[in-house]
């Protein structure tokens, strides 16, 4: 049997092989993979953007995830002074958990205007966010929005029947809890700071961050001990037509 040595997080055998199986990967080229590359290369060839622009945005996108928002919430739960900064200067508070909203261009991206408001839940008031316009979302802190959040069905119905829509996600709010729906717009981004749940006394920031999932910062779920991931959510089709912006009335089918 070959000797092994440790490389921190994995072992190598002395003969250069790996003792563990390689992570599975998709070993076929799909039409969609080809299309993505073709569109990108054609856009670069036509001068719509540069390869360097694309690399910068790819690296920025790749680094985004809800983990940053989770750290912000967990830190706010354990550090009252930091919690004040979250509300007073959320962009500075973001930097303290490693997120600079001015990246990657020096003024953010065209989809991430540098204006954030953190909404504090209490036992009496619950917040949920939406973007009825399109899919505005605090990407620097939460990563890319889930597709259900982008769907016209969610955007249309949440603002009309918020309690019912939350119930569909499994969140049943008592009638005495006030529910506020915050609609993002072209220049403002919102994130929910949920209530720290019971049963978490003495937890470290890292432990707390594990239960602050993406859905709890959107407001469609509540954090609780043992709940460390979000389940899949269905995407419903809109029953009425969706028209892209600018369509003149007489042109509507």
């Amino acid at each position: 049997m070959a000797n092994t040595h440790n490389h921190g997080d994995h072992d190598h055998s002395e003969d250069g092989g790996h003792d563990h199986a390689a992570a599975p990967m998709v070993d076929e080229i799909s039409d969609f993979e080809v299309l993505e590359l073709a569109v990108r290369e054609l856009a670069i060839e036509k001068g719509l953007f540069t390869a360097e622009d694309h690399r910068a945005f790819s690296e920025w996108n790749d680094a985004r995830s809800p983990a940053a928002g989770s750290r912000m919430v967990a830190k706010a739960w354990t550090d009252p002074a930091y919690k004040s900064r979250v509300f007073d200067d959320p962009l500075a508070a973001s930097k303290e958990v490693g997120v600079d909203w001015s990246e990657p261009s020096g003024f953010g991206t065209t989809s991430d205007y540098m204006h954030l408001t953190v909404l504090e839940d209490t036992p009496e008031v619950h917040h949920v966010i939406v973007c009825t316009l399109c899919s505005c979302y605090p990407r620097p802190l939460l990563g890319h929005s889930p597709y259900w959040y982008r769907s016209p069905n969610y955007r249309r119905r949440l603002v009309r029947w918020p309690r019912e829509v939350l119930a569909e996600f499994g969140l049943l709010l008592p009638p005495e809890v006030e529910l506020r729906v915050e609609d993002s717009n072209a220049k403002s981004r919102f994130m929910v700071l949920p209530v720290r749940p019971a049963g978490t006394n003495g937890w470290t920031e890292e432990q707390l961050a594990e239960i602050v999932t993406r859905d709890t910062m959107i407001g469609i779920a509540m954090p609780k001990p043992g709940r460390t991931s979000d389940g899949p959510h269905p995407i419903h089709k809109a029953s009425r037509p969706v028209h892209s912006g600018g369509r003149p009335t007489e042109a509507s089918p």
Binding site: F32, L35, A38, A43, D53, D62, T109, T110, R150, P248
Partner: protein, 127 residues
């Protein structure tokens, strides 16, 4: 754009999507090539394909460079996602919609895209 028109094209305003079918895009990707079919077939657990990050970067770069505004793209995505491409799951739907919008806006032609698709596939399959 080619194929039969199932919607309305209004060139005068220019800020909404052409709902004509695109033969090239319709010919792409049988259902078993979407990530939700590919990933379990290869025992891969990542929820999204590796190219999703690049697709989002392309959208960001197009907007930053002024070629395709993000809000206009999102509106067009919404309409295409509920009509022509409603049967395609995401993120493939987002990708095909982006290509459709770029063709619709004249940012590229079907011939150019078809040529690049052939070139890219040949390159990826060269080994």
């Amino acid at each position: 754009m080619s194929g039969s028109t199932v919607g309305v094209q209004e060139q005068a305003e220019g800020h909404f999507v052409d709902l004509s079918r695109v033969t090239l895009l319709d010919s792409l990707g049988s259902e078993d090539q979407t990530w939700d079919k590919l990933a379990p077939r290869w025992c891969v657990t990542q929820p999204e394909p590796p190219w999703k990050v690049c697709l989002d970067a392309t959208c960001d770069a197009l907007s930053a460079g002024g070629a395709l505004d993000s809000l206009e793209r999102r509106h067009a995505e919404d309409e295409l996602g509920e009509t022509l491409y409603s049967e395609i799951p995401n993120p493939e739907r987002q990708l095909v919609s982006l290509a459709h919008i770029m063709l619709s806006r004249g940012l590229m032609t079907e011939e150019e895209l078809a040529r690049h698709i052939r070139t890219v596939r040949a390159r990826l399959e060269a080994v």
